[in-house]
C-alpha cells in the first residue's frame, strides 16, 4: 500500500472514542503497517467535541488529517459527524451513529440542533447510518457504542475480521469482553 489510509474518529468527550482508536491502531500494526494515532486528552474530554486521527501506511509522518483527506469518518454522534464532514475526501465513507447529544448552546437555547443532518451528509458522502446506541443496549451495555461502531468499521475495512477480534480480546478488560464481542458482531452484521 503506497497511499496512507486516513481514518477519523469523532464524537463527544466521554463516549469512548479513545478505546475505539486504540482497537483500530493495534489492529493495523498487527497487519504490519506503520501507524500513527493522534488523541485528545484534558479539558476537551469533558463533554466537548473530540477528534482522533488514525493513519497507516508503509511510513507515516504527520499524525493529523486535514480537510478533504479522510478516507473514512467514524462518527459517534450526529452533529459531530456533520461538523467533521469537510475532512472527508471526495467519495469517502462516513459511518454515523444517529444518536443526538445536545451541546450546551442548544441546551441553553442559544442555538438549534441542525435538522436533517443525515440528508445533508448523504448529499456529498457515502453515508452509513446506524442506531449504535440501540445495538449497544442489545449487546448489554450502552457504553459498548464504541465497539458496535468498530464492528461497522471492520465490515468496511480490508482487514480480516479475526484480526479485529484478536485486538478486542487483548484491549478490552476481561469482565466486559462478552458484551463487547456481542457489540462487535452486532455492528459487523448490521
Amino acid at each position: 500500500m503506497t497511499d496512507t489510509k486516513k481514518i477519523m474518529i469523532v464524537g463527544v468527550g466521554g463516549q469512548g472514542t479513545l478505546l475505539a482508536s486504540r482497537i483500530l491502531g493495534n489492529t493495523v500494526i498487527n497487519e504490519g503497517y506503520d501507524v500513527k494515532l493522534s488523541e485528545v486528552h484534558g479539558m476537551s474530554q469533558r463533554g466537548g467535541s473530540v477528534v482522533t486521527y488514525v493513519k497507516y501506511s508503509q511510513k507515516v509522518y504527520s499524525p493529523i488529517i486535514g480537510k478533504g483527506e479522510a478516507d473514512i469518518i467514524l462518527a459517534f454522534e450526529l452533529l459531530e459527524a456533520y461538523r467533521a464532514l469537510p475532512y472527508l475526501k471526495k467519495g469517502g465513507k462516513i459511518i454515523v451513529n444517529t444518536q443526538q447529544i445536545n451541546p450546551m448552546p442548544v441546551i441553553t437555547g442559544a442555538a438549534d440542533y441542525p435538522v436533517e443532518i443525515e440528508t445533508k451528509i448523504a448529499a456529498s458522502a457515502d453515508l452509513i447510518a446506524v442506531d449504535a446506541l440501540s445495538l449497544a443496549k442489545e449487546a448489554g451495555n450502552i457504553k459498548a457504542v464504541n465497539v458496535v461502531l468498530i464492528g461497522m468499521l471492520a465490515k468496511s475495512s480490508e482487514i480480516e475480521k479475526e484480526s479485529w477480534l484478536q485486538t478486542i480480546k487483548t484491549t478490552v478488560p476481561p469482565k466486559f469482553l462478552e458484551v463487547n464481542l456481542k457489540a462487535f458482531e452486532l455492528g459487523y452484521n448490521h
Binding site: V35, H41, R46, G68
Partner: protein, 578 residues
C-alpha cells in the same frame, strides 16, 4: 519488540531504559501520562509532588546525590519550577537530570500558548525536541547521557501532538546505571554569590562546548534531496513539513533546539535557493537564523498562533491548494467542554450564580464554571491565583465588595499554591471567603492522587492532609464543610461566611462523578407536575434540555445524582422506578 506508544509513554520508557532512579512531577496536560507510565516500573521511585517547584527540587536533590532523575510538567508548570531550574543550571548535576516540558500549541487544555524554548536560552540549558514516539524514547536516553557528559540539566521539549500521538517504538532493556558517589562540594553545590560568580563562567564555557557539539551531533539531521527549497525545522513541525513536501525540499531537522549550530545552519542554507523556517508558536529558530545573517522566511509566511498542518505548509511553500472538501452551508452549534452530568462543582456554581457573587476562579475542571448557563467565574489566571487575587480585589474595593466575593479552588490546586495565598489573607488581615472544591481527586488531568487523597501515585495508603486542620492551623477560625448538592444548606453557608468580617474557608465536599465507586441509584425524569419554570435548566446539566416547550432528561446521560430534584421548587423531578 515494537509497540504502539503514546509520546508520553515513550518518554517514560526512555527514562526507564536510561536507568532513571527518581521521577517527581505535578500533573498537567499534556505531560501527565509520562509520570503515570513511569510509576508502572517498579525499579523507579515515582511521585506526585504538591507542585512543580517541589517536584523539580526533588529531582535536583536526587541528581546531586548521584541518581538519574527527571521532573515533567506542562509549559505553565515550567513557570512554577523556574526558580530552582535557573540555579541548578549553575550547579550542574552528578547523576543525569532531565526536565521534560510539554507545550500546548492550540491550547487544547491550557490557559496560554507560551513557547518553552525561550527558557532554554534564558536558563542556559540545552534542549532536545523529539518529533514522534520513537524519538521521544531515544532523545530521553540521550538527554540523560548529555546531562552527565556536560554537567548540566537538560530540557526535553514536547508538544501536545507529540505527547498525545501514538506511534511505533522499539523496546530495549533497562541500562544498569549505578547511583554515583556523593561527595560534599561546597563550591559546586552551594550557590551563594562567591561560588555563583565562578560557576557562571563555567556555564558560559559549557554553552560554547554544547554549540560545538550541536554542529556535529547526529541528533541534528540534514536530509539532502537535491532540492532548491530548504526547510529548517524541529519537532512535530518536521513531520508536517515532511508529509507536505516529501522530497521537494531539503530538510535540516534540529533535534537539539538549544544551543543551535551556526555553521550547520549557514552551510545548509547556502545550498538552497530559498529557506523556510517552520516552527509552531514563536520565531525562535527564525530569529537565530537571522541573527547569524542567514536569510530565511518564517513568520512572514506562517502564523504564531495555534497548531500547523501539512496543508498549511504545502500552501505556504509550494502554493498548493488543499484538496476540495464538502462545505457546511449553515452555522452549526459549537460543542465546548462542559461539566459532566453529576459533577459536584455544578451545585457550587449554581449557588454562587444565584447569589450573584464575584467569583475569583482557578485552574481545573471548575474553570468550566465560567461557561453559560452557570457563567459564574469572573477570573482565571493561574494555579492558586483564585485565593491571592481575591485578597487584592478586596484590598482595593473594600469590605462591601468583599462580602460579595469568593474564591473557588480545587483540593489539589489548593495544596499546589492556594495555601500560600490563604496565609497571606490571614497574615494581612483579609476577610475573604475561600471555597475549596474537594472532589477527592485531581480531576481535570484524569484522576491523579494528591496529598489530600491519602494515596500515593501507586495507590499506596499514606498520610492524608486534613484540609480542615490545615486551614485552622494557618489561622482560619471559620471552617465549614458543606455538600454542594444540598443546595439549600450550601446557599445558607455561603451567605453566612461571606458576611463575616473575618476570613473563612468552606470545604465543598462531594467526590468527582467519574471516580470509581461513585454511583447514584436510578435515573431522574420530569413528571407531569412540571410547571415549566425551567429552573433546572439553569444547572447547565448536559442531560437536561428543552424539547419544544417541555423540559426533558436524557436517560443515557443522566447519572441519577438528583441535583435537579433538589433545585426543582415543585418537586416535579422524580427518580425512575427501578
Amino acid at each position: 519488540m515494537k509497540k504502539l506508544l503514546l509520546g508520553n509513554a515513550a518518554v517514560a520508557r526512555g527514562a526507564y531504559e536510561a536507568g532513571v532512579n527518581v521521577v517527581s512531577s505535578y500533573p498537567g496536560t499534556p505531560s501527565t501520562e509520562i509520570t503515570e507510565e513511569i510509576a508502572k516500573f517498579e525499579e523507579v521511585y515515582a511521585e506526585w509532588a504538591p507542585n512543580e517547584k517541589v517536584a523539580a527540587e526533588v529531582a535536583i536533590g536526587a541528581a546531586i546525590a548521584g541518581g538519574r532523575a527527571m521532573s515533567c510538567c506542562k509549559h505553565v508548570g515550567l513557570n512554577v519550577m523556574a526558580d530552582p531550574v535557573f540555579t541548578v543550571s549553575y550547579i550542574g548535576v552528578n547523576g543525569g537530570l532531565v526536565f521534560c516540558v510539554a507545550d500546548d500549541p492550540g491550547k487544547h487544555s491550557s490557559q496560554n500558548e507560551q513557547d518553552s524554548r525561550h527558557y532554554a536560552e534564558a536558563a542556559k540549558i540545552p534542549m532536545l525536541e523529539p518529533a514522534d514516539s520513537a524519538e521521544c524514547k531515544e532523545f530521553t536516553k540521550q538527554a540523560f547521557a548529555l546531562s552527565e557528559q556536560f554537567d548540566t540539566p537538560v530540557f526535553l521539549r514536547l508538544s501536545t501532538r507529540v505527547s498525545h500521538s501514538q506511534s511505533l517504538v522499539e523496546l530495549c532493556e533497562r541500562e544498569d546505571v549505578p547511583v554515583r558517589e556523593y561527595q560534599k562540594d561546597i563550591a559546586k553545590n552551594v550557590m551563594m554569590p562567591g561560588n555563583a560568580i565562578k560557576k557562571h563562567v563555567v556555564v558560559e564555557k559549557r554553552t560554547e562546548d554544547l554549540k560545538a557539539l550541536a554542529e556535529t551531533t547526529a541528533i541534528n539531521v540534514v536530509e539532502d534531496n537535491g532540492a532548491k527549497i530548504g526547510i529548517i525545522t524541529a519537532g512535530i513541525a518536521y513531520m508536517y513539513a515532511k508529509e507536505a513536501l516529501g522530497n521537494k525540499a531539503n530538510f535540516l531537522k534540529l533535534g537539539m533546539v538549544y544551543p543551535l549550530p551556526e555553521k550547520l545552519i549557514s552551510d545548509f542554507a547556502a545550498k538552497c535557493d530559498k529557506v523556510f523556517v517552520i516552527e509552531e508558536l514563536d520565531p525562535v529558530l527564525e530569529n537565530y537564523c537571522k541573527s547569524i545573517g542567514v536569510e530565511v522566511i518564517g513568520k512572514d509566511a506562517f502564523t504564531m498562533l495555534g497548531e500547523y498542518t501539512p496543508a498549511m505548509i504545502a500552501k505556504a511553500v509550494l502554493g498548493e491548494e488543499a484538496p476540495a472538501c464538502a462545505a457546511i452551508e449553515e452555522a452549526i452549534p459549537a460543542r465546548p467542554p462542559v461539566m459532566c452530568p453529576s459533577c459536584p462543582h455544578r451545585g457550587t456554581f449554581y449557588v454562587l450564580k444565584k447569589l450573584g457573587l464575584t467569583v475569583s476562579g482557578d485552574i481545573g475542571c471548575y474553570t468550566l464554571g465560567a461557561v453559560a448557563p452557570l457563567a459564574s467565574v469572573d477570573t482565571t489566571i493561574c494555579m492558586g491565583a483564585s485565593v491571592s487575587a481575591a485578597l487584592g480585589m478586596a484590598k482595593v474595593k473594600g469590605s462591601d465588595f468583599n462580602k460579595k466575593l469568593v474564591s473557588v479552588i480545587g483540593d489539589s490546586t489548593f495544596i499546589h499554591s492556594g495555601i500560600t495565598g490563604l496565609i497571606d489573607i490571614v497574615y494581612n488581615k483579609g476577610a475573604n471567603t475561600v471555597i475549596i472544591l474537594d472532589n477527592s481527586i485531581t480531576g481535570m488531568t484524569g484522576h491523579q492522587d494528591n496529598p489530600t487523597t491519602g494515596k500515593t501515585i501507586r495507590g499506596e495508603a499514606t498520610k492524608q492532609v486534613d484540609l480542615i486542620k490545615l486551614a485552622q492551623s494557618v489561622g482560619i477560625e471559620h471552617v465549614v464543610v458543606a455538600d454542594p448538592f444540598d443546595v439549600k444548606n450550601f446557599e445558607a453557608v455561603v451567605k453566612a461566611e461571606v458576611e463575616r468580617d473575618e476570613p473563612s474557608v468552606i470545604i465543598a465536599q462531594r467526590p468527582c462523578a467519574l471516580l470509581k465507586g461513585v454511583k447514584y441509584e436510578g435515573k431522574c425524569h420530569i413528571s407531569e407536575e412540571c410547571r415549566k419554570c425551567k429552573l433546572c435548566m439553569k444547572l447547565g446539566c448536559p442531560a437536561i434540555s428543552l424539547k419544544g416547550d417541555a423540559v426533558e432528561i436524557d436517560t443515557t446521560q443522566c447519572n441519577g445524582c438528583g441535583l435537579c430534584m433538589n433545585v426543582c421548587p415543585f418537586k416535579a423531578i422524580k427518580k425512575e422506578e427501578k
